[in-house]
């Protein structure tokens, strides 16, 4: 249905899926990479850098902001977006722990 039955999963499972979902789009990956590497982080730069329309970039920024990964400060008529390193590290730790899982030795199969 395009709807996920979040009420039947644990908070941790929903949190992990929520993080992954926001990261599950190449435009948002590109935005994050650009914010990490560049000196300036004016929103308008992202529009030319990524190559998507301004409302589209704005929408992606909103989703990244909702998750807390980025923060924006007003710079005159522009807005400067940056990674929120503290929040990033926090989510990276949650996700990294999930990725670090090791298989239990199983007797029979695979």
């Amino acid at each position: 249905m395009g709807i996920t039955k979040s009420e039947m999963f644990t908070a941790e499972q929903n949190a992990l899926a929520g993080i992954a979902k926001v990261l599950g789009n190449p435009a948002r990956i590109a935005i994050i990479q650009y914010l990490f590497k560049t000196e300036s982080c004016i929103c308008g730069d992202l529009v030319t850098e990524i190559g998507l329309a301004q409302p589209t970039i704005s929408q992606h920024l909103k989703e990244l902001k909702n998750l807390g990964l980025i923060k924006g400060t007003i710079e005159g008529t522009s807005i400067c977006y940056c990674i929120d390193q503290e929040k990033w590290d926090e989510l990276a730790a949650i996700f990294g722990k999930f990725l670090d899982q090791k298989e239990q030795p199983k007797g029979k199969c695979c």
Copy 2:
């Protein structure tokens, strides 16, 4: 449009987004966690464990299989699904590297 313009992004960006997208659903997170922790990994167990219909579970398994995260071996009339630890570690390394990014010191903002 529900379509992402993947041709305008790098292979790495698409790969990262592709991994995250598959992980961006709590049912698939739950399936992965169950496969990691349990002794047995019969497909039918997942249906009762997760609480979604059998075709739905089968569909999620298919997506995990497409990404290479799991593999299934036929056990009589059942199928035994397991994590492909090697592939998991590989994807975890790719994603972990992305998560490990640190902010460049910026002069002006944020």
